[in-house]
């Protein structure tokens, strides 16, 4: 196996481990809602929350990188440029993640000085990691970009998919730099922070996973490069055509002028349109292949990606995206419900699909099947759907009692949080969270044990055109 693919396996393994940490921290966060005394005085809610959301970002990022390192040698027919640097930085990345997690759990906070931001905590959602660690992540991104772009230059050829990925590396690196500054004015801070969260995570990541899924489709379904590249360009046009100004739906209430209500509402209302096309595409692929490929889990996870994206982004997003309604639902568990479903559909399912594709080749399996992955698939998706359904009930109760009836004060907030419908949602979320955790354990076991007892031929990789 090439050095790039070995590195890919390491990244994918680290991603799956961090997926477990994310799940555990998510379960802990859910416990605080039903037992507020949980770990009180030892680990406050925000620490569990930070671990939950930051590991989500990192495991998905590591999953994307693993996927790219997996496909790179096949796309260019050679080892990536600067692979040695990527190999070193993998261990630096892992060490930094462990150190930051230890700081969050054991140090938790520091005095209100710049030193705290450098050493312990930046206190901005999703990018809480101290600046020293953020520098490390920026360095990893930079080397990742070098690996991709440098390999194209080294090979003196480029494919359409890799051209899109290479161009996407520029905003991927640049937008991450917003993780560093401390901006006193909260309105300005949130303005740029949404560039990081929306344009980095929801635009450059969308393009990156689009490229990864294009490569996966060629491998998994044998789709021709011409078709895949055509669809990738359509996706880029639609994602960035609606997504760049769709950023506006985050600018409704942060102090920005009210023209964002119209712009953000309009462009985000368009977002279900391409997702509907994606559903039709998934049905077409499933029909053509009669739901059978040589790698059933990878195929099912790509289908889950299409449907999850549609339901989480399209259906759950459309409920709360128009400003007149978002005024009630913004910043409630309703948003949480949409966020969980959309992230799961848009990214997590795709990364899990690539994990199975890589394992098939690494372990030389002609086919990937069995019942383990089915259990993992059902438990994870069932748990996730149960969780987002529960959060939807809680969010509706919160928006109704706290905002629409109560008046958004502390007293109204408490009335909403203590409402039986809200609490029902919280208990139910925890129950489905356990189901999801069981799914994770099954997945981890399945990924580690898959094909260990089988001896099979190596599937032929698709040659680059």
């Amino acid at each position: 196996m090439s050095r790039s693919k070995s590195l890919a396996v390491k990244y994918l393994a680290a991603a799956v481990l961090l997926f477990g940490v994310m799940t555990l921290a998510g379960l802990a966060s859910a416990v605080y809602y039903i037992n507020p005394d949980f770990l009180f005085g030892f680990v406050p809610f925000n620490v569990a929350k930070i671990l939950h959301i930051d590991t989500m970002i990192i495991w998905l990022l590591m999953g994307f990188m693993g996927a790219v390192y997996w496909f790179l040698p096949e796309e260019f027919g050679c080892e990536p440029a600067g692979i040695w640097a990527a190999e070193i930085l993998f261990w630096v990345f892992v060490a930094a993640v462990l150190a930051v997690a230890a700081i969050f759990v054991f140090v938790q906070w520091g005095p209100g000085t710049e030193t705290t931001l450098w050493l312990f905590q930046q206190g901005r959602k999703y990018v809480e990691a101290p600046r020293w660690a953020a520098i490390g992540v920026a360095l990893v991104m930079l080397v990742f970009a070098w690996n991709v772009v440098g390999t194209a230059l080294k090979a003196r050829r480029i494919t359409g998919v890799m051209a899109v990925m290479s161009v996407n590396m520029v905003p991927l690196v640049l937008l991450y730099l917003i993780a560093f500054p401390k901006i006193d004015n909260m309105a300005v801070d949130l303005y740029w922070w949404w560039w990081l969260v929306h344009l980095w995570v929801e635009a450059t990541w969308e393009i990156l996973i689009g490229c990864i899924m294009a490569l996966a489709m060629m491998k998994l379904l044998g789709t021709s490069r011409r078709i895949v590249e055509g669809w990738l360009y359509v996706e880029v046009a639609l994602v960035l055509g609606t997504g760049i100004l769709g950023l506006g739906h985050h600018y409704f209430w942060i102090g920005t002028p009210d023209y964002w209500l119209g712009i953000g509402g309009f462009f985000s209302a368009l977002e279900p349109l391409p997702l509907l096309g994606m559903v039709v595409h998934a049905v077409y692929d499933a029909g053509v292949h009669r739901m059978k490929t040589s790698n059933q889990p990878a195929f099912y996870w790509t289908l889950a990606e299409a449907f999850g994206n549609f339901l989480g982004g399209g259906v759950f997003g459309f409920m709360i995206t128009l400003p007149q309604l978002n005024l009630f639902a913004h910043g409630t568990q309703w948003t949480v419900s949409h966020g969980h479903f959309a992230f799961w559909g848009a990214y997590a399912c795709g990364v899990l699909s690539v994990c199975y594709i890589a394992l098939q080749e690494q372990r030389r399996l002609v086919t990937v099947n069995g019942s383990g992955w089915v259990w993992a698939f059902v438990l994870l998706n069932g748990g996730l759907i149960g969780m987002v359904g529960s959060l939807l009930v809680a969010g509706m109760a919160q928006a109704f009692f706290e905002r629409a009836i109560g008046g958004s004060t502390l007293e109204a907030f408490i009335a909403g949080q203590e409402n039986p419908w809200f609490m029902l949602g919280m208990y139910s979320r925890f129950g489905f969270g356990l189901m999801f955790a069981a799914g994770y354990l099954t997945l981890a076991w399945n990924l580690s044990a898959l094909g260990r007892r089988q001896v099979a031929a190596v599937p032929q990789p698709m040659p680059a055109e």
Partner: protein, 197 residues
């Protein structure tokens, strides 16, 4: 047929991205002007010397902040540089304690604690003045922030985050300034409707 040619869609993707990016850049320039301190939507930091309220504007059809008479924080008016220093310190406290991972600011953050956008205006502080033995809203807020675990709030308690008096004062100044920002009517109905028992 051009629709079948990937080059057609590549050109479409590039042109769409370029056009949208240019529009975003133009809107960003305008928005940053509006949200700079002293801009059309964000008062200067010295607004902490004034009375701040939140009222329904019938003409605009939404709630918005109103700036009233002099009402300096802790009874002492501050000049612009001191106000800016307080805001800078307050933001550092908010980031160093990761407040946004329990609370929301303008609805962004975590949902375990209440939204803090209009926390300065919350009617609950009147009761908290009595509970903390403070004579003013700002003093009640400072005492609570310094030792939140000593006061029974409700089932969910805020942990003690080692906030010093200076830090608490800066945080209160920050929250007062924050309440003066025009957030297009968010949060809705704030404090105007009582929760029925």
């Amino acid at each position: 047929m051009p629709f079948d040619d990937p080059a057609f869609w590549r050109a479409g993707a590039i042109s769409t991205t370029v056009v949208m990016s240019i529009v975003l850049a133009m809107l960003t320039i305008d928005s940053l002007e509006a949200i700079a301190p002293g801009g059309s939507h964000v008062p200067p930091y010295t607004v902490i010397n004034r009375h701040i309220d939140y009222a329904h504007n019938a003409k605009l059809g939404r709630d918005m902040p109103t700036i009233g008479q002099d009402e300096p924080l802790f009874g002492r008016a501050v000049e612009a540089p001191e106000a800016a220093a307080l805001i800078e310190r307050g933001k550092l406290v908010i980031q160093s304690r990761a407040c946004i991972d329990c609370h929301t600011f303008m609805g962004n953050g975590a949902y375990y604690g209440p939204d803090l956008t209009k926390a300065w205006l919350d009617p609950a502080w009147e009761a908290w003045a009595a509970i903390t033995g403070a004579e003013s809203r700002e003093e009640a807020m400072v005492r609570f922030l310094m030792a939140p675990d000593q006061y029974a709030t409700w089932q969910r308690r805020m942990p003690n985050l080692g906030i010093s008096r200076d830090e608490a004062v800066a945080t209160v100044a920050y929250l007062k300034w924050l309440a003066s920002i025009d957030t297009n009517g968010f949060p809705i109905h704030f404090g105007r409707i009582k929760v029925s028992e």
